[in-house]
């Protein structure tokens, strides 16, 4: 079982999101900030597009040889004193982590931000088994206080306003002065820093994700701005890395390529503040660092994706640029998608991981404007992949009867071009005649889904095809 999903209720989620004033006020920052920041750093680096091609090629090469790179990586991890644990399913991964924590006698666990951690719902599982997980990335900490999923893969609390965060801090940090000033993000950050500092120092185990695994050296790599991931993995007696099979890159040189596109695409930074390459546990004469180093390598359906049309999705380096540039994400935010991965990348990945029957709505929630593919640092053809899901949904008879009926009706005409031309030109004339007064319709038979929210404009002239014909002459 994976993390709990409300993806089947996408339409209801989206409707609620559009009516949520606080959410809408928080979301307006996404469009403004992320897009401009990315553009600015991309413009500063003439080689940016060449690096994107290079990153795509590296990922393609690694995926085509994934078995061999995984073996090479594993050998290096073991040689440096680390341990590798394979997990076929999310359930397997959770059990491995719990088992490790129990063997270490862990009571509290600090966590760096990890999307795999979200995917396998590790926090709920540890909590249910008597171990307290503490998220330490500020955004993750905030959503943990609210028992929510992240709404963005790199900015988990992007759906919240500072007033909401203030309310949560007051609700939870009851040991602090009730009259303290918490109106500014600066004071909230300082408060979280203070609360979490104690947690860092007290934790028995630190769990982080991995942005990359490097086969050449047997390393895991995390990229953060806060430094929480480093405190998480340095201070406790053991470091557990949650990774998935597609995080591999062959060499340090390849790492340099993907790092150059990751931070720029994600936060619009030239380089994130902390890029940390970790290899094995504390060495014999090291004065600090974890005594044990474990990597849990999760498959959870990814190896099956390698064989089909969704292999391209495994290139994803989780920068979030696709959702930052998505008009649908801007309108409804991440929670509407109903599971761990939102936006265009989530619309492609989620059906692979939790099933098309549950997540079929997501690949439909796109206008196919193509901005996601345009900005993707590894050139994933996201619209094409969403279209593949739509085709499968249709083939498997998962789409509702009205959609199927409508498509069959349209298909009947589309296959008969002359009839299509005749029918549309008649329909246009009829609509134009009925709409000649107001120039638009507030109600229209069979189009209630449209007219419930906005007027339908009445046709202003001939059909596109007849206009095209006229111009050709």
């Amino acid at each position: 079982m994976n993390a709990f999903s409300t993806s089947p209720q996408f339409k209801d989620n989206a409707r609620a999101a559009l009516a949520d004033r606080e959410l809408q006020s928080a979301l307006k920052f996404v469009e403004v900030n992320f897009i401009a920041r990315r553009q600015e750093v991309a413009d500063k680096l003439p080689e940016f597009d060449a690096l994107r091609d290079s990153a795509r090629d590296i990922k393609n090469h690694t995926l085509a040889n994934l078995d061999l790179y995984l073996e090479a990586w594993e050998k290096r991890v073991v040689a440096q004193g680390g341990k590798v644990h394979y997990a076929v399913t999310a359930e397997d991964a959770r059990k491995i982590v719990l088992d490790l924590c129990r063997k270490l006698g862990a009571r509290t666990v600090t966590k760096g931000k990890s999307m795999i951690g979200e995917e396998i719902a590790i926090n709920e599982y540890l909590e249910a088994n008597g171990i307290t997980p503490v998220e330490t990335d500020l955004g993750e900490y905030i959503i943990q206080l609210r028992h929510e999923l992240p709404s963005h893969i790199i900015a988990p609390a992007v759906h919240l306003t500072k007033a909401q965060v203030e309310a949560d801090f007051r609700r939870v940090h009851t040991h602090l002065d009730a009259n303290r000033d918490l109106t500014e993000p600066t004071t909230m950050l300082a408060e979280a820093r203070g609360v979490l500092r104690d947690r860092f120092l007290a934790a028995d185990v630190g769990i982080t994700g991995a942005n990359f695994l490097v086969a050449e050296t047997g390393s895991s790599v995390i990229v953060t701005n806060e430094g929480n991931g480093d405190l998480t993995q340095t201070l406790p007696k053991a470091h557990i890395v949650l990774a998935s099979i597609e995080k591999l890159v062959p060499t340090l040189e390849d790492l340099a390529q993907v790092l150059r596109v990751l931070a720029r695409s994600a936060t619009g930074q030239e380089m994130s503040v902390y890029t940390t390459v970790s290899t094995g546990p504390r060495r014999e004469d090291d004065p600090d660092g974890p005594g044990e180093y474990h990597v849990v390598v999760l498959d959870n359906g990814r190896s099956a994706m390698l064989g089909g049309e969704f292999r391209d999705m495994l290139r994803c380096i989780r920068c979030g640029a696709c959702m930052n540039h998505c008009p649908v994400y801007h309108a409804v935010g991440g929670h509407a998608y109903g599971w761990v991965y939102p936006g265009p990348m989530g619309a492609v990945l989620t059906p692979s991981l939790i099933g098309l029957d549950k997540a079929g709505n997501l690949p439909n929630a796109s206008t196919f404007c193509g901005r996601c593919e345009e900005v993707c640092p590894v050139h994933i053809p996201l619209p094409k992949l969403m279209r593949h899901w739509r085709e499968r949904e249709f083939e498997r008879h998962l789409s509702p009867a009205t959609v199927r009926g409508g498509l069959a009706f349209w298909g009947f005409f589309a296959k008969r071009p002359r009839l299509y031309g005749l029918a549309t030109s008649v329909a246009m004339r009829v609509l134009a005649w009925f709409g000649r007064g107001r120039g638009r319709f507030a109600h229209l038979p069979l189009a209630g889904g449209w007219t419930r929210y906005r007027d339908f404009p009445s046709p202003q002239g001939a059909t596109f095809q007849s206009q095209w014909k006229a111009r050709q002459r």
Partner: protein
Amino acid sequence: MSARDLVFASIRASLGVTGQEAPRKKVVADRLAGHPAGVVPERARLPLQEKVALFAKMVAAAAGTCDVVARADDVPGAVGSFLRRNNLPLAIRRGDDARLSQLPWSREPMIEISTGPSDGRQLVSVSHAAAGVAETGTLVLVSGKDNPTTLNFLPDNHIVVLDTADLAGDLETVFARLRGTFGEGVLPRVVNMITGPSRSADIEQTLILGAHGPRRLHVIIVDHS
């Protein structure tokens, strides 16, 4: 079958391979051994003086600060002036790294020096960088007997000494040097690449310095040229 076997079998079934194909094995072995460089930005292919200037500019862009001194012997003085400038107590913690312990600290007799890892109670730490990357203003620090990792993250103020002899233009140069120092395929437990002080933008995307790591990052560049 073990979980490991299942994962490998599934990967191989999807790829339509056995894992025993000699040409594939050769391609992978060659890449791991040859580690070819990809696209390296021109930005930092500069003579040393300009490289130092680019590095300092990029550190400043990442909200760090820099001082340039002409000789290693001037480092204690630069540390002292940083502490006084920022109204910090005259106390630092550092590792046993010879490049730091051999400095003439007696020139700053007021500074109280302790050595070893941080337990979170120190306000200022001093580290020596293994390398700098001019391309992005990044410091590269490696863990080891004399270089505790906690010094990079727990104290509020992190001072890092960088010798211009260790300043590279790009990341690839640094990785090649690490390979030279530690051997092919071998790294110390941690390689920390640090670009500016800790920050977060998780609340309404307002950028604030000093999230969980240092609030200030100060680089003392020892420029022999």
